[in-house]
């Protein structure tokens, strides 16, 4: 894959091993200039490792990435000048004020005094922290710190902004505030944003394109709409049954409008082209066969369904599985 003007990031066969554990397995994708690109996957899927390799924090075992035209292996300094990074951990200094945090970073990027005096108040204003500019960051909420870190990451006007799980650990109000900020950034500048998340709604709401990552592999990549379209059926019927017979899923597949049937964690997911009709037939069938219906609901296809379709698991199940899998190598 050759770097083109339209691609802000090109990831080329990236592999990362930690001993025997392979955290990232031969991943390739491209992020277009100006888009918000999401890496969606459960904890431990390899998202943070991927983002760390793209931001020069972790050396790849093999493969490379070209970020803003600079190779992460041969020109890491070029990459660092072109990107802003908001790591997953809160990295703002709690013993400094908001203004001082941004000031130190501005100096690290070599901004002149005049540029600093002009930019820092603007950035703090843009993240709604002007009145807290001279307060110690230690007194800030998680949401305020995250907003400050976004401002700090933008101080040198980067071409690409990396956000690693920007809303993890934030309360719903702070999450919404961070989302609004990211949307504002998208509108205001020709900034390319790559974010990782394990929240489906976040990816759905913010991202132009989404790459689904699971067990260190890229399993799907497209726009949220196309990803949802790729799941058979337009509706998802979710049902729980009391005493289903062994051939129950096969029987359900014969109902009107049904495209596919999967079960996970005691819940049956029926992809259907006509949700209400499928529910009506399902209820009739259950009554005839003496199967108890504990719960039934119909909804449009979500990214949860997309994840289930591509990985065979729901994101919440994958999270617990993968975390266990991911940390095993640490105890060897």
């Amino acid at each position: 894959m050759n770097h083109t003007e339209t691609n802000a990031i090109e990831v080329l066969k990236l592999v990362k091993r930690f001993g025997d554990f392979v955290a990232v397995k031969d991943v390739s994708f491209a992020v277009h200039t100006g888009e918000i690109f999401g890496l969606l996957g459960p904890n431990g899927a390899g998202k943070t490792t991927l983002i760390r390799m793209m931001t020069t924090l972790t050396p790849p075992t093999s493969g490379t990435a070209v970020v803003a035209g600079h190779d992460v292996i041969t020109d890491p300094d070029g990459v660092r000048h072109a990107i802003g990074v908001i790591p997953q951990a809160l990295t703002s200094d709690p013993e400094l004020t908001a203004r001082e945090n941004v000031l130190i970073h501005a100096k690290l990027y070599g901004l002149s005094s005049a540029q600093r005096q002009k930019l820092i108040p603007q950035l703090l204003e843009s993240v709604g922290l002007t009145e807290f500019a001279d307060k110690l960051v230690g007194s800030f909420s998680g949401g305020m710190r995250r907003r400050l870190e976004i401002a700090r990451g933008l101080v040198h006007s980067p071409k690409i902004l990396f956000l690693d799980e920007p809303t993890t650990g934030l309360d719903p109000v702070s999450r919404t505030a961070v989302w609004e900020m990211i949307n504002k950034l998208k509108e205001s500048a020709s900034l390319t944003i790559l974010l990782t998340t394990h929240y489906m709604d976040e990816a759905d709401r913010l991202c132009d394109r989404i790459a689904i990552v699971d067990h260190g592999q890229l399993v799907a990549l497209d726009t949220p709409i196309k990803l949802k379209d790729s799941v058979p059926g337009t509706d998802i019927v979710e049902a729980e049954f009391g005493n289903p017979p062994a051939d129950w899923n096969a029987t359900l597949e014969k109902l009107a409008g049904v495209a596919s049937v999967t079960s996970s964690d005691g819940v049956t997911h029926i992809a259907s082209n006509n949700g209400p009709l499928t529910v009506r037939e399902l209820m009739d069938l259950a009554r005839d066969r003496g199967v108890a219906v504990r719960h039934v609901s119909v909804q449009g296809t979500t990214l949860d369904d997309v994840f289930l379709y591509y990985t065979g698991r729901q994101l919440r199940d994958a999270a617990t599985e993968t975390v266990k899998y991911d940390t095993n190598h640490l105890y060897k």
Binding site: L57, A89, S92, L108
Partner: protein, 383 residues
């Protein structure tokens, strides 16, 4: 009250304890190390004290004295004799700390011995270290007593081949103290100043550095274009500035409390600044090298006591290095504390000027360059 819950808490704590080498080290190894280091650092028999002998008499009688010194060197090895031809050269080296005492045998010594005309030997001592000078003085007094009694104390029953001086009148040992009486608080002050810098290095270079690392704050800096040498030098110089501030404060307050004469002498203050600055850089570099690959916040806390014992006590801050066994002397040679304490004593107790501290300053600078180089080499720019 449920026994199972109590045992669950015990199990939790024991599992954590056995998985933390830092905790185990601080609780088990540290007391043992303190026992060994302190046990050998105090009250050891002082050996190898450098004494200048200026023999301007060049007679059989003066050579007899020299031979008796040689016997002390070969026997109990308390003294290490160095011959000087000029008294002024010997006194310069005494002032700068290269020798601890000067024995001066004047030109008329043998004539006076022959004439029985109160022969005199001068003993000029660097009385800034009472442990050392009292040991040398005891040897000198014993030697003069032997001369007066015409006995050889190291080979009882045997007569020396050289003729012993006449006994009447007795040889007079004139003791000259180079400095006014030095109280122990003044002796301790240099160690306390070095300790203040060490504490700043330990907190800034150790505890805060690892805490920031474990809190993820470093990741925020590592994504910027900063080079690892820039990051290390920035951290070292900020630590050194803090160390210099702490050292200066303790020098002034401690100097006033201990009653150091002419504390505000601007030239000495300048030299003190040089010593405090180089000591700060050396200590913070030392701490960075130790911590450069550490990520567990418990480690620097656990190491605090160990390093304190291992660096402070072997430095000669509270007892002279000459009293240590060889292995402890080796620790003192690679301990930046030793050079800091020596230079601070030279300035505060003897006001030697630059000639008394330049060796220490250059050693501390060399030490710093080496440690900074190693820290940069070992620092991992990537996660």
């Amino acid at each position: 009250m449920k026994l199972q819950r109590i045992s669950a808490i015990i199990e939790r704590d024991m599992r954590k304890f056995f998985r933390s080498p830092a905790l185990m080290m601080s609780s088990m190894i540290f007391p043992l190390m303190q026992l060994i280091v302190l046990g050998y650092a105090f009250g050891g028999k002082i050996k190898g004290i450098k004494v200048a002998v200026v023999d301007q008499d060049h007679s059989t009688a003066s050579r007899d004295i020299r031979q008796r010194f040689d016997a002390v060197m070969a026997g109990p090895r308390t003294l290490e004799i160095q011959d000087y031809s000029s008294l002024s050269d010997a006194v310069v080296d005494l002032r700068t700390g290269f020798v601890r005492a000067v024995v001066y045998i004047p030109p008329e010594y043998s004539r006076r011995v022959e004439q029985g005309n109160r022969p005199r030997i001068a003993f000029i001592e660097d009385n800034t270290d009472n442990f050392v000078t009292s040991e040398v003085l005891i040897r000198m007094q014993s030697l003069v007593q032997d001369l007066n009694q015409g006995l050889n104390p190291f080979q009882p029953g045997q007569r020396l081949s050289v003729p012993t001086p006449r006994l009447n009148p007795l040889i007079d040992l004139q003791v000259v103290e180079l400095y006014p009486y030095i109280e122990y608080i003044k002796y301790l002050l240099s160690g306390s100043i070095a300790m203040s810098i060490f504490i700043v290095a330990m907190i800034g270079g150790g505890i805060t550095f690892i805490d920031d690392k474990s809190r993820g704050l470093h990741e925020g800096y590592l994504v910027t274009p900063i080079k690892k040498s820039e990051l290390i030098l920035g951290l070292i110089f900020s630590g050194a500035i803090k160390g210099l501030m702490a050292g200066t404060t303790i020098t002034i307050i401690g100097g006033l409390i201990a009653g150091i004469d002419r504390l505000w002498d601007p030239v000495r203050l300048l030299y003190l600044g040089i010593v405090l600055g180089t000591t700060s850089v050396a200590m913070i570099s030392f701490m960075f090298l130790l911590m450069v690959r550490v990520s567990d916040p418990l480690v620097p806390r656990a190491m605090f006591g160990v390093l304190n014992t291992l660096l402070y006590f072997p430095s000669g801050a509270i007892y002279p290095v000459e009293g240590f066994p060889p292995w402890l002397r080796w620790i003192s040679y690679i301990d930046p504390f030793t050079y800091a304490v020596h230079a601070l004593k030279a300035l505060l107790l003897k006001n030697t000027g630059f000639e008394g501290i330049y060796t220490d300053v250059f050693v501390l600078l060399g030490f710093s360059f080496l440690l900074v180089g190693l820290s940069v080499a070992f620092f991992k720019r990537q996660i």
